[in-house]
């Protein structure tokens, strides 16, 4: 219903007469998008403003809690620290190697790649295992106790295991992301399968669907909305654990930068890295929500209903 109302809003009607580009922009929900962006900026701005205020009145010590205008100001200086791979090599002077901007981009790309690959592997494995647990009773009996047993183990405990198994480099970092998400996602998949409406399954059964068809055509599409929600929650988990994982030798990586900042007592660098991680996580979440709306076109918008309360 909200869509219909939006169409008759005067601003949109007026846009109908303006230039085609503007019309296209508004027709894809430009106003909506702008409003959202505005609120996001305001939200972050208020937080940063409060911090700046605390600094201005002298409550936040710039040596310990440098406000945004300090830790964001010297990008060139901060960016150099992101060159965690070649910085310490013998015979390398400070001026050589990638520039500050390049360093930041290489680091961001490296960490994002680890998160993304880890997330994809964890998802595919967890959904396969979760479905298999319900599909074959024997897998349920064989696998589920171990999965439940390993679920509460903290990623920190897996860190040495990752190093034992994979040494240093990308592999242990990706392993850490996978292992931190896998067990929870298996349990979440099973919970989703168990909550599929028995009516839907019974309808398929009365139409002569085989077990295989019931899983493929009913259960998997029925659990998709819940699974994407689970994935979104775990996305943040992946970003958290990747920093821990990268504290071991991985060449470029945000975790390396954090370790460096900790060891050299550099609060500005810590907050700068936190800001970068925040922006990346936010971006990932936005992309995922976009994908969610595409894939789950049939879901009604509950947000709209809650707004009317």
């Amino acid at each position: 219903m909200a869509v219909v109302e939006r169409d008759v809003r005067p601003s949109d009607a007026a846009a109908g007469t303006s230039r085609p580009a503007a019309r296209w922009f508004l027709s894809v929900g430009g106003i909506d998008w702008l409003t959202k962006a505005w609120w996001t900026c305001l939200s972050v701005g208020l937080f940063a403003g409060l911090w700046e205020l605390l600094w201005a009145v002298g409550w936040a010590d710039p040596q310990l809690l440098p406000p945004p205008h300090i830790f964001l100001s010297d990008f060139g200086e901060q960016g150099k620290f992101f060159n965690t791979a070649t910085r310490w090599q013998v015979g390398q002077s400070m001026g050589e190697g990638p520039s500050a901007f390049e360093s930041v981009m290489i680091t961001v790309a490296a960490t994002t790649m680890r998160v993304f690959v880890g997330l994809v592997i964890a998802c595919v494995l967890a959904i396969s295992v979760g479905v298999a647990v319900r599909y074959w009773h024997v897998i349920d009996k064989l696998v589920l106790p171990t999965v439940t047993l390993l679920s509460p183990v903290s990623p920190i405990a897996w860190l040495p295991v990752a190093i034992f198994l994979f040494g240093i480099g990308n592999a242990p970092a990706i392993f850490m992301v996978v292992v931190a998400l896998f067990f929870h996602m298996v349990l979440a998949t099973i919970a989703q399968i168990d909550s599929v409406s028995p009516n839907l399954i019974n309808v398929a059964r009365t139409m002569g669907a085989s077990k295989h068809q019931i899983y493929g055509r009913v259960i998997v599409p029925a659990i998709l909305p819940g699974m994407l929600q689970v994935l979104r929650m775990n996305l943040f988990g992946a970003w958290m654990v990747v920093l821990v994982a990268e504290s071991t030798g991985v060449g470029y990586g945000m975790g390396q930068v954090i370790m460096l900042a900790r060891n050299t007592f550099n609060p500005s660098l810590v907050f700068f890295t936190i800001a970068v991680v925040g922006v990346l996580g936010f971006g990932f979440d936005w992309l995922l929500r976009l994908a969610q709306r595409r894939i789950l076109y049939w879901l009604p918008d509950t947000q709209e209903k809650l707004r009317g309360l």
Binding site: S197, N199, L200, N202, V203, A204, R205, T206, M207, G208, A209, Q213, R217, V218, P221, A222, L224, Y297, W298, L299, P300
Partner: protein, 272 residues
């Protein structure tokens, strides 16, 4: 008892002999939902199961559908013993059971997709079935764009697309408002006449039973047994305000009241 050599015609739509169901049989939580049901349903007959809530009338429907196994006795349909679900016996539920991720026509032709029919074939059959329920225009809509009554009509179309010989309906109109329900009853009678299928219809509404049924099967409270079978010999289309209809409603109300009283007394004894 030997049920392997049934003494009835293979043309009978549904035959129940001593059918019973105990949930969680053999455990502490075991409870008997249905006991010793003997029932014959003719092809093209409209039979309503009437009884208090939890009397096992829906359970019987599930047994006939083949979705649950009878723990006692046996059920046959057109001479075949009911052991698994079959497209010949379509079940329609109270709550909407449409697949929300499929369009209306894809929902209706779901059973054909299971059999591997081509897209053109599925669309043709879906269009035909939707025509019969008056919703051909809504073919490409999604279920969440339809009203409750329309969704149930789509569910009926989906059942009809399988060309069932028996339509099993578990309180299909219970979630609809009174006006929509009356319209849906007329609609169902039309569909029933066209399809020639037997309809087994579960309800706890006496009005609905009198409006629809050839015969009303009245169930006792837990465990569900057949208390009596009341034939409704009113000519169709029915005048539901006639004296005869009123008399039948009173008769059914009396029959049901005893069972509801008993069910209440039992529940109070349990909580006391």
């Amino acid at each position: 008892m030997a049920f392997d050599a049934p003494h009835f015609s293979s043309r009978t739509a549904v035959v129940c002999r001593g059918a019973g169901k105990t949930w969680a049989a053999g455990t502490k939580r075991a409870h008997e939902a249905l006991r010793d049901v003997d029932l014959d349903i003719a092809p093209g007959e409209f039979v309503v199961f009437l009884g208090p809530s939890g009397c096992g009338k829906s359970t019987l429907l599930y047994l006939i559908a083949g979705l649950e196994d009878a723990t006692d006795g046996a059920i046959w349909s057109f001479g075949d013993k009911v052991e698994t679900p079959s497209p010949q016996r379509s079940l329609i539920f109270q709550e909407t059971s449409l697949f929300p991720w499929l369009t209306v026509w894809q929902n209706v032709s779901f059973g054909l997709a299971i059999r591997g029919a081509s897209q053109a074939e599925r669309r043709r059959v879906a269009a035909e079935a939707l025509q019969r329920v008056g919703l051909k225009a809504a073919m490409d809509k999604r279920p969440d764009e339809l009203s409750g009554g329309m969704r149930q009509r789509v569910a009926v179309a989906r059942a009809l697309a399988m060309r069932p010989k028996v339509l099993l309906m578990d309180e299909p109109f219970a979630a609809l408002d009174v006006q929509t329900r009356a319209r849906m009853q007329d609609f169902l009678l039309d569909v029933w006449r066209d399809s020639g299928a037997s309809v087994l219809f579960v309800t706890h509404h006496i009005d609905e039973a009198v409006a629809l049924a050839d015969r009303v099967v009245v169930f006792t409270a837990r465990p569900g047994r057949i208390k009596t079978i009341v034939p409704i010999d009113l000519p169709r289309p029915r005048n539901l305000f006639s004296r005869e209809a009123e008399a039948l409603r009173i008769q059914l109300t009396d029959l049901l009241r005893d069972e509801v009283d008993r069910a209440f007394a039992e529940q109070e004894a349990m909580t006391a």
